[in-house]
């Protein structure tokens, strides 16, 4: 899966020879981004459950307490609403808090604070809430219904919130930095299945990945796949298989930013290929694929040679048992099958 890492590194102007020793994982990349922003800007601080003494459930902030001290690395009570609320208050005072949700599923008790306080703050009062809320999302880890969700669609109709979801270590670092510097609330979804599974060498210099910009993860002329997060990797695998077996080339767009969305990149690709498949891990009904389909429809209907299709999770919670979770999760073959259907249309 480091294939993508290489692609991203290349896109970022890196050398082609990768020194595996210098490569960092997706998790380390987030960690580095956070660390560097805290070094560079002392108004940045982090708060959440078990992030200080323990270093976070996934050890992402391990060592932060020692280095930055208890005034900037704060273990909170189990109070997600207060974590997000306190972050909003601190942001009104000029600080730049980064909140960790131990699992992104636990953002639900903070829903009101995010949707009603953080998201609407700037519009109502001209004073925004410069906060980041990050946490591990997604399935594949046998986490069951409450440790596997993808929550982007809960917030997609909430004006005032930005959302990003990196698929590579490069983007993970660039996006956490962009999120921290962004003057508005940003939800940062890190796919826990990727934490230690993707790796790449990152630039030495400071860089950000602009919020709102998608990435063409693979070029191709036959079909556009629009996806993000863990599904980028499955889509790339599917694309390789189709290339090898069918000789067709699939373009894979890694959204990276879910709101705002990079319409231009999507539309550019679909105008080129005339065919589009959207892949996401969350259930189908009300998933982000709907919004993307609507935009494609509005902006390049005339170019479509086939209906826009979606490969998604089914309309169920995420089940726990391995055979069930594997069945729930989108697999490479599902993408291959839908791609072939579209290519043949």
């Amino acid at each position: 899966m480091t294939v993508t890492g290489v692609a991203a590194a290349q896109a970022a102007g890196e050398q082609e020879t990768i020194d595996e020793k210098k490569a960092v994982t997706y998790l380390e990349a987030i960690r580095e981004g956070l660390w560097e922003e805290m070094e560079a800007d002392e108004s940045v601080f982090i708060l959440g459950e078990d992030i200080a003494r323990y270093g976070g459930a996934f050890k992402l902030t391990d060592g932060f307490l020692d280095h930055f001290g208890a005034d900037r690395v704060i273990d909170t009570p189990i109070s997600e609403a207060a974590i997000v609320g306190a972050a909003i208050g601190a942001s009104h005072r000029g600080l730049k808090p980064v909140c960790e949700m131990q699992f992104i599923d636990f953002i639900a008790p903070a829903f009101d604070m995010l949707v009603n306080f953080a998201a609407k703050s700037r519009y109502r009062t001209q004073i925004g809430a410069q906060i980041v809320v990050r946490g591990p999302c997604g399935g594949g880890g046998r986490g069951g219904p409450f440790h596997s969700q993808n929550v982007e669609s809960y917030f997609l109709n909430v004006a005032g919130i930005k959302m990003v979801a990196p698929a590579t270590a490069y983007d993970a670092k660039g996006l956490i930095k962009a999120a921290i510097r962004d003057p508005d609330p940003v939800l940062y979804f890190e796919h826990k299945f990727l934490y230690r599974r993707v790796k790449e060498v990152l630039p030495d210099e400071d860089y950000v990945v602009a919020i709102g910009s998608a990435r063409i993860a693979r070029e191709g002329g036959g079909l556009t796949i629009v996806t993000f997060g863990q599904m980028v990797h499955k889509s790339l695998e599917a694309a390789e298989k189709i290339s090898a077996e069918d000789g067709a080339e699939v373009e894979v767009i890694d959204l990276r930013s879910l709101n705002p969305m990079d319409d231009e990149t999507i539309i550019g690709s679909v105008r080129k290929t005339g065919r589009c498949l959207i892949v996401h891990e969350a259930p189908r009904t009300g998933g982000i694929a709907g919004e993307i389909t609507a935009r494609i429809n509005e902006l390049c209907f005339e170019w479509l040679d086939a209906p826009v299709r979606r490969v998604t999770g089914p309309d169920t919670p995420v089940p726990f048992s391995p055979p069930l979770e594997d069945y729930f999760l989108v697999q490479v073959d599902d993408i291959v099958k839908a791609s072939r259907w579209l290519l043949a249309y």
């Binding site: 601080f45 005034d71 900037r72 704060i74 909170t76 009570p77 109070s79 997600e80 609403a81 207060a82 974590i83 997000v84 609320g85 306190a86 972050a87 909003i88 208050g89 601190a90 942001s91 009104h92 005072r93 000029g94 600080l95 808090p97 008790p109 009101d112 604070m113 009603n116 306080f117 609407k120 703050s121 700037r122 519009y123 109502r124 009062t125 001209q126 004073i127 925004g128 004006a159 005032g160 930005k162 962004d182 003057p183 508005d184 709102g212 705002p260 509005e298 902006l299």
Partner: protein, 332 residues
């Protein structure tokens, strides 16, 4: 009151009366159809709101509820601003996008509440936390209705401030009603102060219609917070003399109860104190009243003359940068 000068004691009266008169004007304008949306009154509760805010100093922060208009006046908000806000004018603090006390101003240290109750405590706990983290000697103060103390957010915010030892003062206002629900239907122990022990913070219960008692308690709590002593809870017992909002005729309120509390009116009581202690003469008070009315006459006429917002401004301001809404159009 030892630490308040005569001028300050008179000023306390000024704010209480200003609040009551301003709310009277608002009610009048509401009946004329000039107020947009709901109108909330603090009639009978002016003392606690104002006296608590009066304990703050420059640089401190305040997070009001919808019935804390008086506290905002103390912290430098002008009657005209409040009128513009309630009249949904373009030059109101929210540019017409929101109403009541819902505005935020970091310069004056104000955080505007949102309607979902309890959330403000979480946010003010963050303001207070920022003082602590930065080792700045400032204090945050906020209010919560007895009804709103029952929200999850109120609990989480109170606890976070308590356990972090953040400089937050929480004024828990028991005004007898949460909309049409009585205090004892919201909480089995109607002495809200008794929750302080569970949170491990000092708590005190005072007569909310006694401005000086509230001031003394607030001052003590503010001083303690400023000195690094962390959070405090002050329960003020008071009474909501009007319905929940203008549209509520409060038919469910027993008239005797209103009478009882009318006799405890905080402003009447404060006037008696000022005159009995020779801190203000009746004519000085009448003079202040006159000044207030003149100020309000001007504020009302200025506010009325002020324009409504430009419809298209509805689209802007959601995000700091390239707001999608500004690119938005109903046509493709």
């Amino acid at each position: 009151m030892d630490d308040l000068s005569q001028t300050q004691l008179q000023e306390l009266y000024y704010y209480m009366k200003l609040t009551r008169s301003l709310e009277g004007r608002l009610e009048f304008l509401f009946k004329q159809g000039k107020i947009v949306g709901g109108l909330y009154s603090s009639l009978g509760q002016e003392a606690e709101s104002i006296a608590a805010a009066y304990a703050l100093e420059d640089g401190d922060w305040l997070g009001p509820g919808i019935r804390n208009l008086g506290a905002l006046l103390v912290r430098g908000v002008s009657p005209k601003e409040m009128l513009l806000q309630y009249m949904a004018k373009a030059d109101g603090p929210c540019r017409g996008k929101d109403t009541t006390t819902h505005f935020t101003d970091p310069v004056r240290g104000l955080v505007g509440p949102i309607s979902p109750l309890g959330t403000m405590i979480c946010v003010m706990s963050g303001v207070a936390l920022s003082f602590k983290l930065r080792r700045e000697p400032q204090v945050a103060l906020t209010f919560i209705g007895e009804g709103a103390t029952r929200t999850g957010a109120a609990h989480e915010g109170t606890n976070l401030a308590a356990v972090q030892g953040s400089p937050l003062v929480l004024i828990a206002e028991d005004n007898g009603w949460a909309f049409a629900t009585r205090t004892h239907e919201e909480v089995a122990n109607t002495n809200l102060v008794d929750m302080a022990e569970g949170y491990g913070v000092p708590g005190v219960q005072v007569d909310g219609n006694d401005a000086l008692a509230v001031y003394a308690a607030a001052k003590e709590a503010v001083d303690r917070a400023r000195g690094g002593g962390g959070m405090s809870i002050i329960e003020v017992k008071t009474y909501r003399m009007k319905g929940h909002a203008q549209h509520d005729a409060q038919k469910y309120v027993p008239p005797e109860e209103l009478e009882l509390w009318r006799a405890r009116d905080p402003i009447d009581r404060y006037i008696s104190y000022l005159t009995a202690e020779s801190l203000a003469t009746e004519s000085e008070i009448a003079e202040m009243d006159k000044r207030i009315e003149a100020e309000l006459d001007q504020a009302v006429s200025e506010a009325e003359a002020s324009p409504m917002p430009d419809p298209v401004s509805a689209l802007s301001g959601t995000y700091a940068d390239a707001p999608p809404a500004e690119l938005w159009a109903r046509e493709l």
